[in-house]
């Protein structure tokens, strides 16, 4: 086997907060104020000191894998798992903080559609420019020019400045260039999310062909499970910067859905979950766990209420509080939410019974994000605690009528029913 890419213990660290004082003057002022034990003049009165860049965030931590020629690797993981950072490191846009990446071939990365297109130049000129940006010589582009134009379906407009193009045409042209590069490794970051469905199919076909018959290596990031399934031969699942699975595609997808789904779980412990809250504030309120009532898994049918018991620890009595719930699709898109009536939190462990309706939710995998809010004197909500991906669940309808095998990319993430359709009269 011909090894083409080796990623070895790679970590990437970002500093949180603004890097430096944005201007030298701002930084000098802050430094001078600190010297005299005064407040930083660039910080709002009463605000906490800004994050000083010493707080670190590990976007990737100890990631290792290898790829051979002709393999197509799908990289999946929820938002913030480090997928795009990994692609940036492999395509050399920025360097890792630790570890090494060995590349045994040329790379064409498409982290964005039409990088470097200049609106004033014609389609033809942009093909040459874009090809060169992606690492081809002029002669190589010339050799492929006919193919590129044909693939893009834009031969009529090729001498028109691209500023006159529609966004769809723009995408077509850009993808066509990238798809015909002579690179050994092709890196794609969800570029197929744009463009019409037919063209998307054509692109996927082209990429599959590149991997299987031209023996090129493809790295592809997507939230779209079905494209991963149809294109990739291998799958890497990232979770909070760690590799949580590397291997065959079906197991990888199952594992990924598992991260979101915690398949057939009914008890959810919140201690390890991401909290969307400023951890430096001490509200004294903390959600501990949730338990699904009368269930032995977390699979529901549309219309079932998600019946669960939420445990909240509180260090003081708070009256009133309310609970709001946001429903998210598997890719992190917020679909809708709900805010509860007021209730009282007492000191100690509060067990709160919640019924979340699923009347408009079609087949798919989702998660609930839960917030506990209190009302201050001005009637404004302030967030006491918040847990992301608190309760993952899936909707699986047994009957076909109510959204079985729902096409989320066509209909969106919610379903209206009942839809009344009747043939009230007819003529022969």
């Amino acid at each position: 086997m011909d090894r083409i890419l080796k990623v070895e213990n790679v970590a990437k660290e970002y500093r949180l907060g603004t890097i430096g004082g944005a201007t030298l003057r701002g930084e000098l002022q802050a430094w001078w104020a600190k010297k005299r034990h005064l407040e930083n003049p660039n910080v709002k009165i009463g605000a906490k000191q800004p994050m000083d860049g010493r707080e670190k965030f590990l976007a990737l931590d100890d990631v290792s894998f290898e790829l051979n020629r002709g393999e197509a690797l799908g990289i999946i993981g929820h938002n913030g798992a480090g997928k795009s950072t990994l692609l940036k490191l492999i395509s050399r846009i920025t360097a890792p903080t630790k570890g090494r990446i060995y590349l045994n071939g040329t790379i064409a990365s498409m982290l964005e559609v039409g990088t470097g297109f200049h609106p004033e130049l014609t389609g033809k000129e942009n093909i040459y420019l874009n090809g060169a940006i992606l690492g081809m010589t002029e002669a190589e582009v010339s050799k492929k020019f006919e193919q590129i134009v044909e693939f893009s379906e834009l031969s009529k407009f090729i001498d028109t400045p691209v500023k006159r193009y529609s966004s769809g045409m723009y995408v077509k042209l850009a993808f066509s260039v990238a798809a015909h590069l002579n690179s050994d490794i092709m890196i794609m970051d969800e570029v197929l999310a744009v463009g019409d469905v037919d063209f998307q199919k054509k692109c996927l076909g082209r990429m599959g062909e590149a991997a299987s018959s031209e023996n090129r290596t493809v790295l592809y990031v997507s939230h779209n499970i079905s494209t991963i399934r149809s294109l990739c031969t291998k799958c890497l699942v990232l979770d909070h910067g760690h590799v949580s699975y590397l291997g065959d595609v079906e197991t990888g997808i199952a594992k990924y859905l598992g991260i979101m789904n915690e398949a057939s779980a009914t008890d959810f412990d919140f201690s390890e979950k991401t909290r969307r809250i400023d951890t430096r504030t001490t509200s004294g309120v903390k959600m501990i766990s949730a338990h699904l009532n009368n269930k032995d898994n977390n699979i529901y049918s549309t219309g079932d209420a998600i019946d669960f018991m939420l445990v909240i620890q509180s260090s003081k009595e708070i009256n009133p509080v309310n609970i709001s719930i946001v429903n998210q699709y598997v890719d992190g898109v917020r679909i809708g939410g709900s805010i509860s009536n007021n209730l009282v939190l007492y000191v100690g462990e509060n067990h709160i019974h919640i019924l979340f309706p699923t009347d408009n939710i079609p087949d798919g995998i989702y998660s609930l994000e839960i917030h506990v809010n209190s009302m201050d004197e001005d009637g404004l909500n302030s967030r006491l605690d918040s847990v992301k991906f608190a309760i993952p669940y899936s909707i699986q309808n047994r009957v076909g009528v109510y959204g079985k095998d729902w096409q989320h990319n066509v209909y969106g993430h919610s379903m209206y029913r009942p839809l009344v359709v009747e043939n009230v009269s007819h003529k022969a």
């Binding site: 003057r25 090494r100 060995y102 990365s109 990088t115 940006i133 081809m136």
Partner: protein, 279 residues
């Protein structure tokens, strides 16, 4: 086999990589040129307008009113020659200094040797210079035929002056761009600093007519250390036959130029790998 690592030494400069992307440099230069003059009526003639107007103003105020021009040489060509070579240097410096910030978007999405950016923006400046130079040559032909000025064999050394202006501008620009990926302050100083620098160089006046600046004058040796001065002198001497070239200082200025280029590239290689995180 290439390796992406967290840290590399001071002298890790990918010259071979830049050479591999020479077609990209060519296309960037072309893009800049074509895009600049699309949908304009005058087109590339615009390259002449700015130095022409500057020259008119300089000839009028510094030349005719203040009398700072060179004796025996028409003010217009004297100031035109100084202005175009200075403009080449200043534009190279400016565009190299802004090469990363103004192209941050593309640099954040695709990898190519980062030096391609300032190199191509410096070379782009050569095109407008070429047009301006032809404009100047027109006047030179006219004035030599009428016997007013004496174009001599040093004329053919103009490529050296041009090359030096290019390298010097590129070197300084690269130093600045390496430093400005984190702090933008320096970028604010650039245009102001260039304005001051221009008056420390023999652009708007003839140094040989000023007692303290002319050879033997008390500021001469100090003044000549400005690396731009000897190159302007060479350019003017060749094209107009006025002033003189002090070869000692000329070689010193080349030394300075190469040192600046070296510092620029070394500083640049330090920030190259991760500047996308801070820009």
């Amino acid at each position: 086999m290439s390796i992406v690592e967290p840290y590399t030494g001071w002298f890790n400069i990918d010259i071979k990589g830049v050479w591999k992307y020479k077609d990209l440099i060519k296309l960037f230069v072309r893009r800049t040129f074509v895009a600049q003059y699309k949908q304009t009526i005058l087109g590339p003639a615009w390259a002449i307008v700015q130095p022409f107007l500057t020259t008119v103003v300089y000839s009028l105020f510094f030349g005719n009113i203040a009398g700072l021009g060179a004796a025996g040489v028409p003010n217009f060509v004297f100031y035109l020659s100084g202005t175009i070579i200075w403009t080449l240097f200043a534009n190279c410096l400016n565009s190299s200094a802004n090469a990363f910030i103004s192209n941050a978007r593309i640099l954040g999405k695709v990898y190519f040797p980062r030096l391609v950016m300032p190199i191509s923006s410096s070379i782009s400046q050569l095109i407008s210079f070429g047009i301006q130079f032809l404009f100047l040559c027109g006047f030179l032909v006219y004035y030599s035929v009428t016997g007013v000025i004496n174009v001599n064999q040093y004329f053919f050394m103009f490529p050296l002056a041009v090359l030096q202006a290019l390298i010097l501008g590129f070197g300084f620009g690269t130093i600045l761009s390496s430093l400005t990926t984190k702090y933008r302050d320096l970028a604010m100083l650039v245009s102001f600093g260039l304005e001051l620098w221009k008056f420390a160089s023999p652009v708007a006046y003839d140094m040989f007519g000023r007692l303290s600046l002319a050879p033997g004058g008390k500021y001469y040796s100090f003044y000549m250390l400005n690396p731009v001065t000897p190159l302007i002198n060479l350019f003017r001497y060749g094209t107009l036959g006025c002033g003189a070239v002090d070869w000692n200082y000329y070689f010193i200025s080349w030394g300075e130029t190469l040192v600046i280029l070296f510092i620029g590239i070394v500083l640049f290689s330090r920030v190259e790998k991760t500047f996308m995180d801070t820009i």
